[in-house]
């Protein structure tokens, strides 16, 4: 008995050695190939006199960008233009994800409605938007938005404060002496604090009405305090028609609206199917039991069906969110200055450094996607736990 056992151990050791050796060789091969690619690329770039390196990020950009969440002018650097494009991508993706999720949830539930008309309408929506190319839909929304809106001089106006025309939606902007970032940070902190407190109370079983008010105060109090202390609102910049268009105030441009509508209606259709499958996956007995207990339909859905359905919904939902974020790069087609349009478009063309620019762009999309996937995986873990505990 001893000898075969020893032999088996010996064989296992050889197997393991072989496995490690093969993996090591493959790894070395991949590294060598990558090194050869990089070296050869650099050689060839140098040979043809094409500039390389990342020094260009510090040079003056010289072009303007129509919307920027941070300060930016023609005198800013390419690096700053990159950040502007990145923030625009994140903004449009975030807006798209929120809207697509709401739409998907609504339509997904509607498809299972007992109301014939509602269910059929939801079906028509899903089958239409899921089966048309996204780029086409984005063009449709963009030009539909443009065509529906009047020229600046014939703007729709609300109390002379808010204006809507084919240049965008103009709203008044508060003039504050304090740093807006500080207020925004206080607001974000307050909301997180309030959410934590709320959850903590709910776990203890008490969410009385006065506690709701307290939570609201907790959410908005810090921001109000910071705003009041650091410098009150000194006035409002009200948009006004000057020359060609409106000036002053904040503006939501039609490119943004067109892109968000396109992305969310398209992805919303997928999410709707996803929600439907999740709901159908919940055992029929659950609904019957809830109804037997006298729960209303709404409460059955909210407290019994959806929490369990989430286990099925969340994993594919992650893919839809990733898809939406990546699809936001179609922005270039309708002139919304996202990362691809600004950085992999204009900056690439001005500098000609395709390899560097494309590499950075790919790395950024990879990072965004991994971040979304990571966050959704965390959420998924929670959802699975809730589902099991019920």
């Amino acid at each position: 008995m001893a000898r075969p056992a020893a032999r088996r151990v010996g064989l296992a050791r050889i197997d393991r050695f072989r496995a490690v050796a093969v993996q090591g060789l493959v790894l070395a091969g991949v590294i060598a190939l990558a090194a050869w690619f990089v070296g050869n690329t650099l050689d060839n770039l140098a040979q043809r006199g094409i500039a390389s390196g990342f020094g260009f990020l510090g040079s003056t950009a010289g072009f303007s960008i129509i919307v920027h969440l941070i300060d930016y002018s023609e005198l800013s650097s390419y690096g700053r233009a990159f950040v502007v494009g990145l923030l625009n991508t994140l903004l449009v993706s975030a807006a798209g994800i929120v809207l697509a999720s709401l739409l998907g949830l609504l339509v997904g539930v509607a498809r299972l409605s007992d109301n014939w008309l509602v269910a059929r309408l939801a079906t028509v929506y899903v089958e239409t938007f899921r089966n048309l190319p996204l780029l086409l839909q984005i063009f449709f929304w963009y030009f539909a938005v443009l065509s529906a809106m009047p020229q600046p001089r014939q703007s729709h106006s609300l109390f002379g404060l808010i204006f809507l025309n084919n240049r965008g939606l103009y709203v008044p902007k508060p003039l504050v002496t304090a740093d807006l970032w500080l207020v925004a940070a206080a607001l974000a902190g307050g909301i997180i604090l309030a959410a934590c407190a709320w959850r903590w109370r709910r776990r203890r079983g008490g969410t009385a009405r006065w506690e709701g008010a307290a939570a609201l105060a907790l959410a908005f109090g810090p921001a109000a305090a910071v705003a009041a202390l650091a410098g009150p609102v000194t006035g409002w910049a009200v948009p006004a028609l000057r020359g060609f268009s409106f000036e002053g105030g904040m503006v939501l441009i039609p490119e943004f609206v067109g892109l968000v509508l396109g992305l969310s209606f398209y992805t919303g259709a997928y999410i709707a199917e996803n929600v439907r499958s999740g709901i159908l996956a919940v055992d029929k007995g659950q609904r019957e039991a809830a109804q037997a207990l006298g729960l209303s339909r709404g409460r059955t859905l909210r407290h019994v069906i959806l929490p369990q359905a989430m286990r099925v919904i969340v994993p594919p939902l992650t893919s839809h969110y990733l898809g939406l974020t990546k699809n936001s790069s179609l922005a270039a087609a309708i002139g919304y200055p996202d990362l691809v349009s600004v950085f992999a478009g204009t900056v690439l063309n001005q500098t000609g450094q395709a390899v560097e620019v494309i590499a950075i762009t790919m790395a950024v999309y990879l990072a965004i996607s991994l971040a979304i996937a990571g966050a959704m995986n965390l959420y998924n873990r929670r959802v699975v736990r809730i589902g099991e505990s019920r």
Binding site: F63, A344, T351
Partner: protein
């Protein structure tokens, strides 16, 4: 998804092409082996490069590629056209996807140096202009303070607009689109007060409108846009062939050689300049690595520069652009080609 995949492929193409052994001095040989020339053109700009319903291309930039194909490969039909966006064009040339970029491209210092291109000369002296609706009542570009402009992304246009407004302390907003057709469509829909591109492009787009008279091209030209064909660094022989094909067409106009009379001039002309250009005297082809008839074929394929211009941009075209600076130096313009000798 689609866009993402395209970026990825572009990246791969750059890597793959850059990883091949250097292509120095290989362009002509590669084109001969392939049997045709690869010519990068625009995605559709009347007068310069525009496909018809059957996919046949026409225009000034297109005819120039045909002339190069005739000179270098022996036939005007030995050329394939690749439509490129403003963003893609330089990468396509750098990575060897096209042999020549003949795509209404402005010659600038950074493109000539850092981008690794060589411009073979100027085929059309252009300048950036503005188009507005007549009913706005604007008569000059200096009245455009606060206007919104639509333009094509990835062009010198973007930078010129920024320079023009900034240097005059005027405010503006610029919306840039990947395709110039989409930029123009947005202008037509009223998204912008102004459409801006090279003046020739303004004329070209305006003839497509249902109501061309409702739109006014402002008199100001805010930039110098010398448009010319470009090749990549590292192949001087090929650079010279493209450069001298252009010079041959300009010289042909000066010498009165046309597509129709070139063959006859070759045998009958007593003018030594004509005889040298058409290959009946001396051996200009040999120094270019071509045969003696290279210029004859180029002129027969496309006509001389004047014919090229009239057919595509001038009186013989819907654009009706006057020669102005694009006339020969001897006729009040600035077109001037070095002598063939």
């Amino acid at each position: 998804m689609q866009r993402h995949a395209r970026i990825f492929l572009l990246g791969l193409a750059v890597l793959a092409a850059a990883s091949l052994p250097a292509l120095a001095q290989q362009t002509l040989k590669a084109a001969k082996d392939r049997g045709h020339l690869l010519c990068g053109v625009s995605q559709g700009l009347p007068g310069f490069s525009n496909p018809d319903g059957k996919g046949d291309w026409s225009g000034l930039d297109v005819d120039f590629c045909k002339a190069v194909a005739a000179a270098a490969l022996g036939g005007a039909d030995k050329v394939k056209f690749l439509p490129l966006s403003g963003k893609e064009r330089f990468t396509a040339l750098q990575s060897g996807e096209v042999d020549i970029l003949s795509r209404n491209t402005t010659w600038t210092l950074s493109r000539d140096t850092a981008l690794g291109l060589n411009f073979a000369g100027v085929i059309y002296y252009d300048g950036q202009g503005f188009m507005v609706r007549r009913k706005l009542g604007v008569k000059s570009a200096r009245e455009l303070d606060g206007a919104t402009a639509c333009a094509n992304a990835g062009t010198t246009t973007e930078l010129n607009v920024a320079d023009f407004f900034r240097s005059r302390g005027m405010k503006y907003k610029l919306v840039t689109f990947e395709k110039s057709d989409d930029a123009f469509a947005a202008y037509v829909k009223g998204r912008c007060d102004v459409y801006t591109t090279d003046q020739s492009g303004l004329y070209a787009q305006r003839v497509r409108l249902d109501d061309p008279d409702e739109h006014l091209i402002l008199p100001e030209i805010i930039s110098k846009e010398p448009l010319g064909p470009a090749v990549r660094h590292g192949d001087d022989g090929w650079f010279e062939i493209v450069k001298w094909t252009l010079f041959a067409l300009i010289n042909a106009e000066e010498l009165g050689i046309t597509a129709a009379n070139a063959q006859q001039q070759r045998t009958e002309s007593q003018n030594p300049e004509v005889r040298r250009l058409l290959g009946s005297e001396g051996d200009t082809g040999k120094s270019l690595g071509l045969d003696a008839d290279w210029a004859l074929r180029a002129i027969q394929a496309a006509g001389n520069y004047g014919e090229l211009f009239e057919r595509n941009l001038g009186a013989g075209s819907p654009l009706k652009i006057a020669r102005n600076v694009n006339a020969l130096w001897s006729k009040g313009g600035i077109l001037y080609a070095p002598p063939v000798r």
